[in-house]
């Protein structure tokens, strides 16, 4: 290997290596099995926290969804896909400075990535989740409270 080849290899490793790492950090919502929503920004009474998952996800995944206010909301594959599409469209990797209540951060499981959802996107998601079948009383009440608290 001559000096120029050596230099080129070093240059490529120094420049493109970090770029590749950055690119690989971008979340791929289509591969996630569950998502947890947590409010960020100003609040008085805490805003609800909850998780949703694709129906029938492995028990080991469900085990880590315990920190929410209600049991995880399980979605049919059709609803799950629609939710992922909505999040891919509305989610952002930039948190900004939330000044009004209703901005949520979304943890993607098992990838561990984080997306941010502005209040209007969170309201759309809440309204969509309220309509699904199979919610228990606690989940339904939580979503109703959330809908009322996100100004829209």
């Amino acid at each position: 290997m001559n000096r120029w080849t050596c230099f080129a290899v070093l240059f490529a490793a120094l420049v493109f290596g970090p770029l590749d790492c950055l690119a690989s950090e971008s979340p791929k919502p289509l591969n996630v099995e569950a998502m947890c929503f947590e409010h960020i920004g100003p609040q008085d009474k805490p805003m609800p926290a909850f998780c949703v998952s694709a129906f029938g996800v492995a028990h080991s995944i469900m085990g880590i969804l315990r920190a929410a206010d209600v049991p995880p909301i399980q979605l049919t594959s059709e609803t799950w896909r629609a939710l992922l599409d909505l999040i891919e469209k509305e989610g952002s990797k930039d948190v900004g400075h939330p000044t009004v209540p209703g901005q949520y951060q979304l943890r993607l499981i098992p990838l561990g990535g984080i997306l941010y959802l502005p209040p209007e996107a969170m309201r759309k998601i809440t309204l969509a989740l309220i309509k699904i079948n199979g919610l228990n009383d606690a989940q339904s009440q939580m979503l109703q409270r959330l809908k009322l608290r996100i100004a829209g």
């Binding site: 000096r3 100003p42 008085d44 400075h97 499981i109 109703q144 009322l148």
Partner: protein
């Protein structure tokens, strides 16, 4: 030793009791601090706040069946990008409420950064999550109350960016247990007042003293040890003084720590100092618990006087971490330079258990321990003074890269001009 003392402080803080004993918390970036206000008894509820919003309701202040509120957690903290406080407790009374009645809370908030479109004081939550004036909805209270008790938990917070327009941010709440008859009548019990303030954390003042002369006095001659201004030597004494400055930087940004003044005297051999410690005390207005003293070693270099005034200029050299700038002053003159520094945060890291990751906490918990001070420059020397220094690590790296590039080019050109000879290496 400096770090050990601060870590010991943190351990003492943690060991002081339950989480409710933690009175303040730094933001993850170290730029803001929240501090809880002492819990007190709240004044009687201004019932008009409720009856104005809920016409036709009857709201009466009266010891709601004579119960009491017990606080279990009251701690400053940061969560979801905001700072505030967590407040957890429970109200209980000896006699249970009647059938059809319900225990709940009314919480009145007084904040100088209220929810958008709301004027303080206001009923929590806003926007309301049901049609009643209570903290818990009917669905929530069902799982949090019995006929004799009702639990409470809150974590109020605000974005530290709001400090740009409102400083300090103040938030307080009057929390009242209530008995609700299920219709439009409320009896209000004795309330508790809690809250917090948020302020910039890195606001303060620097002061300094000169200590530990080398050699000691005597045999050297010096005065002012232990103060901010020293003189040394016999004949025409040399001297230094340091005037600290107020500061309010962001963590990581350079700021002026103070002004160093240096007088180049002509002293008798053996009477001068060749070293001293500049002990810089940083006092933080809003977090005095994090005050600390930074010790900078200075060497005082008396140069032989020649016909070259630059070469003859005596200088004081800093030996503080990677900072080793020198401040030169012409013979017989006095000059000043500004000492620049930056604050860097110091954390402890608690790795999360891989098999037990909680999606509502960061994977590895960072705990803010305090600040480090890093000297970065001597700037703006006055007339008769000048500053020299060694290249920073970044500059030195660039120099090395340039050297490697030159080696490449030079090696190649040599090869091109040595046609027919054996290749290098």
């Amino acid at each position: 030793m400096k770090y050990l003392s601060r870590i010991a402080f943190f351990i003492a803080l943690s060991a002081a009791g339950t989480a409710s004993a933690v009175p303040f918390a730094l933001s993850p970036d170290g730029n803001a601090v929240v501090r809880i206000t002492p819990q007190t008894n709240a004044p009687a509820l201004d019932t008009s706040l409720v009856t104005t919003a809920y016409p036709g309701w009857t709201v009466t202040n009266g010891a709601a069946a004579g119960g009491s509120f017990t606080t279990s957690t009251y701690t400053a903290g940061w969560q979801g990008g905001g700072g505030g406080a967590q407040f957890v407790g429970s109200y209980s009374q000896t006699n249970g409420v009647s059938s059809g009645e319900q225990l709940n809370y009314i919480q009145i908030i007084n904040a100088n950064v209220p929810q958008p479109g709301i004027t303080s004081p206001y009923i929590d939550p806003q926007p309301n999550d049901d049609t009643l004036p209570f903290y818990w909805t009917n669905g929530e209270v069902a799982s949090r109350s019995t006929a004799k008790s009702v639990s409470f938990s809150d974590f109020s917070r605000r974005d530290p960016a709001s400090l740009g327009s409102t400083n300090p941010i103040t938030w307080s709440a009057n929390l009242y247990p209530v008995v609700y008859d299920g219709a439009t009548t409320v009896v209000v019990g004795n309330g508790a007042q809690w809250g917090w303030t948020m302020k910039p954390a890195t606001v303060g003042n620097a002061t300094a003293t000169f200590n530990t002369p080398s050699p000691t006095c005597p045999p050297a001659t010096c005065s002012g040890i232990g103060t901010s201004s020293i003189a040394w030597g016999t004949g025409s004494p040399g001297g230094m003084s340091f005037t600290g400055a107020p500061f309010a930087p962001k963590v990581g940004d350079a700021f002026k720590l103070g002004t160093l003044s240096y007088t180049n005297g002509s002293t008798t051999v053996g009477s001068a100092l060749d070293g001293i410690s500049l002990d810089i005390a940083l006092g933080f207005d809003n977090v005095p618990e994090l005050n600390f003293v930074y010790h900078a070693g200075l060497s005082i270099n008396n140069t032989p006087n020649t016909s070259d005034p630059i070469a003859s200029a005596d200088f004081v050299n800093f030996a503080a971490g990677s900072f080793s700038d020198s401040f030169h002053v012409l013979e017989g003159a006095s000059a000043t330079a500004e000492l620049m520094a930056k604050l860097t945060p110091m954390f402890s890291i608690t790795p999360a258990s891989i098999g037990d990751k909680d999606p509502f906490t960061t994977p590895d918990a960072l705990t803010f321990l305090g600040y480090n001070l890093q000297l970065v420059a001597l700037a703006n020397p006055s007339d008769d003074g000048f500053v020299t220094g060694v290249p920073s690590p970044g500059t030195f790296s660039l120099f090395l890269i340039g050297l490697v590039a030159m080696w490449m080019v030079t090696g190649n050109s040599i090869r091109l001009t040595t046609t027919g000879s054996a290749p290098h290496r």
